[in-house]
């Protein structure tokens, strides 16, 4: 009896202790580790995944549904001609190093991003800014060279966050922002820790500390989640394991959409893909549902153009490239390739590409197109496919939001060169009224669909696996972000 009492008492202590510990700290896993911690120069999405909305904030920001809401700018006025934006900044905002955030910092950040020698990965976001003027300590005026209907959207990107001149030199290893969490520690190859910023200007987050871990191997991801080594996995890499988590009362599975248009990229300047008939033949050879089922275990929405289906301006163009192997064969014959041809298929690591690649290779073989599959690591893929354009076919998911403008760049890796399309996009950039923009976006989507620039496969889904008690996680990924501001253990 005596024994039993002691045992019961110690158990109670242990229970209390673990309960108390679990309240305000969280371990989040994502697939890739950021190469550095500067969202204003690095192109890697993992940087934003860790830092966006947690450590860094911009003038505006994306909310969980992808809408543009206030960020450091609490309000703004747009002049009649659409050229002048006057931002009123939030008062009492300090950076994590104690320096104040004011209009000078905004001017510094925007001027730095749009400068001639800027290394910003998305310089196009800032291309229309003609001038940034400090009106008062908390008022800044941005003048555009031409009206840009996307300006507030552009300012919400992770590449447009506000940084301080005092801490800019060490930003790549010690990021200093204004967000609800401050950077605490980064053990490269292992984990990155954030701690609550107690002098945050906005609503204080529920979590005290957050640890990010980086697990790209699907088997390791499954094991880490099952063992509860991590509390949340954003972008779980093995869709085949999701039903198991959904059936387990310890976990919840959030199936969301992303801005990731997954495409079979074709090298438009390389034979035989310079012939639209061949490109069209390729798209008709592809059975999208087989790829979604076989590679993604059903997670994904078919797309007929390079545009996110959850966007209200999306046009359903799937009919242009329906699965029809006979049509594909006759198109190849018309292009003078009745006997088919051989090309390369270069695949980056994610399972949508590796598994999808095997399925596509099999589907193309059925119409006479032989592919030599090469599996590449991301660094090799960037070099061979993206930079040197040495490929015939490749599969990749374009996860930037509203990125149809990549088709206006003839140097972009798939090398689509169409002056009519560029004219439509120029009109789009100059148009601010919503109806006009919708019409132009529809036109742009239709052009690239009917030109069969690439094989448009499916919109990549994102699965977040989390402990059942956790609330406040983003379901969708309107931008690469793991926003912990509203996350708590739900009690």
């Amino acid at each position: 009896m005596h024994h039993f009492k002691r045992l019961a008492a110690s158990t109670a202590v242990v229970l209390c202790a673990s309960g108390a510990l679990a309240q305000d700290s969280i371990t989040v896993a994502i697939q890739l580790e950021p190469p550095n911690l500067d969202p204003t120069s690095g192109a890697a999405q993992a940087i934003d995944s860790v830092l966006y909305a947690n450590v860094f904030e911009g003038l505006t920001r994306f909310d969980a549904d992808g809408a543009i809401i206030r960020g450091l700018a609490q309000s703004w006025d747009i002049s009649e001609d659409g050229l002048t934006y006057t931002f009123n900044l939030a008062a009492g905002v300090t950076f994590h190093d104690g320096t104040t955030m004011d209009a000078e910092d905004v001017k510094f950040s925007l001027d730095r991003a749009r400068a001639e020698d800027s290394t910003n990965a998305q310089k196009a976001l800032f291309a229309d800014i003609a001038d940034v003027t400090v009106i008062g300590p908390l008022v800044v005026q941005v003048t555009l060279s031409k009206p840009n209907g996307m300006f507030l959207f552009n300012m919400a990107w992770g590449d447009a966050v506000i940084v301080a001149p005092e801490s800019i030199d060490t930003i790549a290893t010690n990021p200093v922002g204004t967000g609800p969490f401050a950077f605490a520690n980064w053990v490269q190859g292992d984990r990155l820790e954030l701690a609550r910023n107690d002098s945050y200007w906005g609503a204080a987050p529920a979590l005290e500390t957050a640890t990010f871990r980086f697990i790209s191997d699907p088997t390791a991801a499954f094991a880490a989640m099952m063992a509860e080594d991590v509390d949340v996995f954003v972008g779980f890499p093995a869709p085949e394991n999701l039903p198991q988590f959904a059936a387990d009362p310890r976990f919840q599975v959030l199936n969301g959409n992303t801005e990731g248009e997954t495409i079979l990229a074709m090298n438009n300047q390389r034979e035989p893909f310079d012939n639209p008939l061949v490109r069209r033949a390729v798209t008709h050879a592809i059975d999208r549902q087989a790829i979604i089922d076989g590679a993604m275990f059903g997670q994904g929405t078919p797309i007929g153009t390079h545009f996110a289906p959850h966007n209200p301006d999306y046009v359903d163009l799937l009919a242009n490239s329906q699965f029809d192997p006979d049509l594909s064969r006759s198109l190849l014959a018309e292009a003078g390739l009745a006997d088919g041809f051989t090309t390369t298929l270069k695949l980056p690591p994610p399972s949508y590409a590796r598994r999808g690649g095997e399925i596509i290779a099999s589907q193309l073989r059925a119409v006479g197109i032989e592919t030599e599959i090469t599996n590449l690591e991301w660094a090799q893929w960037i070099e061979e496919v993206f930079t040197n354009k040495d490929f015939g076919l490749s599969i990749v998911s374009h996860t930037e939001p509203m990125d149809i403008n990549i088709y206006a760049n003839p140097d972009y890796y798939f090398q689509y060169d169409n002056a009519d399309f560029r004219a439509v996009l120029e009109d789009l950039n100059a148009t601010t009224d919503p109806a006009g923009r919708s019409a132009l976006l529809a036109q742009a989507q239709t052009i690239i669909s009917e030109d069969y620039v690439n094989g448009y496969l499916f919109q990549l889904g994102v699965a977040t696996v989390a402990r059942a008690e956790i609330t406040g996680l983003w379901v969708n990924q309107p931008t690469a972000a793991v926003d912990l501001t509203g996350v708590s253990w739900g009690n």
Binding site: P218, G294, R355, S362
Partner: protein, 271 residues
């Protein structure tokens, strides 16, 4: 004949037979994917079930046997073809500078962990079955060279070699006509062991994506593909795993059995 030899020969014959049969016939075409019928359990139309693409696993195992055996066989061939002559040459010129150069060169190759260098080779020259063969083959060379030299050295002191030398035969001719036949047993046994190691190495390389590329079937890649499916469809991972296990076990038993059977000293003791 020992039991080991019979079991080993049986298993080896079975998998070699599967590989040979795959040239003529497989139950299904593994290049055709059948997504709606994926992850079927063994039995019915698919004797060993289907994988995550709906491919017939029995057909995959047969095609994979062909890849494994072809890679290992050619790799052992490279090792024997270069290693045995090198070893014979070193033995014929024992004690000379040439002997030193050959044997220290072997030590150099031995000094590196073989799989790590195989990974390096396939990473530099690109993953493919051919590069896997070369990578595995290179590491078979010193194994055979060393064994050959070791076995040939005492033979050079024997009277019948002396007789051959007196009759005016050159070192090369003596090596080919007198030394080689006397060490052939050893080479066959070692070849069997290296063959099983070659199959393991091929599986390891394809497991990490550096072996034969899809759509060529490979046991190692079947394992890697099935890894995340273990909890929902264990047979997809177990079957290629058992194929590797049984083939390697068979070859090792065969090697052991052959050694006992071919070694005259042990045979005398037994009879």
């Amino acid at each position: 004949m020992s039991r080991n030899l019979i079991i080993g020969a049986g298993l080896t014959a079975f998998f070699t037979g599967l590989a040979a049969l795959s040239f003529l016939w497989t139950p299904y075409d593994i290049e055709v994917l059948d997504i709606p019928n994926r992850l079927l359990t063994p039995g019915g139309a698919h004797l060993l079930g289907t994988d995550h693409f709906g491919r017939d696993i029995l057909s995959m195992v047969m095609m994979g046997a062909r890849t494994s055996i072809a890679v290992a066989l050619v790799a052992v061939g490279i090792g024997m073809g270069l290693g045995v002559p090198l070893g014979l040459w070193a033995a014929a010129r024992r004690g000379s500078l040439l002997d030193d150069v050959i044997m220290r060169g072997n030590d150099l190759v031995f000094a590196f962990p073989s799989l790590v260098i195989a990974i390096l080779i396939t990473a530099v020259f690109g993953p493919s079955a051919v590069n896997a063969i070369i990578a595995i083959g290179i590491f078979n060379i010193p194994v055979f060279a060393r064994l050959t030299r070791g076995a040939a050295l005492p033979l050079w002191e024997r009277d019948f070699i002396l007789a051959a030398r007196v009759s005016g035969k050159g070192a090369a001719r003596i090596s080919a006509e007198h030394i080689l036949p006397n060490i052939a047993n050893l080479m066959i046994v070692q070849g069997t062991i290296q063959f099983s190691l070659g199959i393991l190495a091929e599986a390891a390389l394809s497991y990490i994506g550096l072996g034969a590329q899809p759509p060529t079937a490979s046991w190692g890649r079947m394992l890697a593909d099935a890894q995340t499916l273990v909890s929902i469809a264990p047979h997809v991972a177990l079957i290629p795993g058992f194929a590797i296990l049984l083939t390697v076990l068979g070859l090792n038993l065969l090697g052991d059995g052959l050694r006992d059977w071919l070694d005259p000293r042990i045979r005398v003791v037994r009879t």
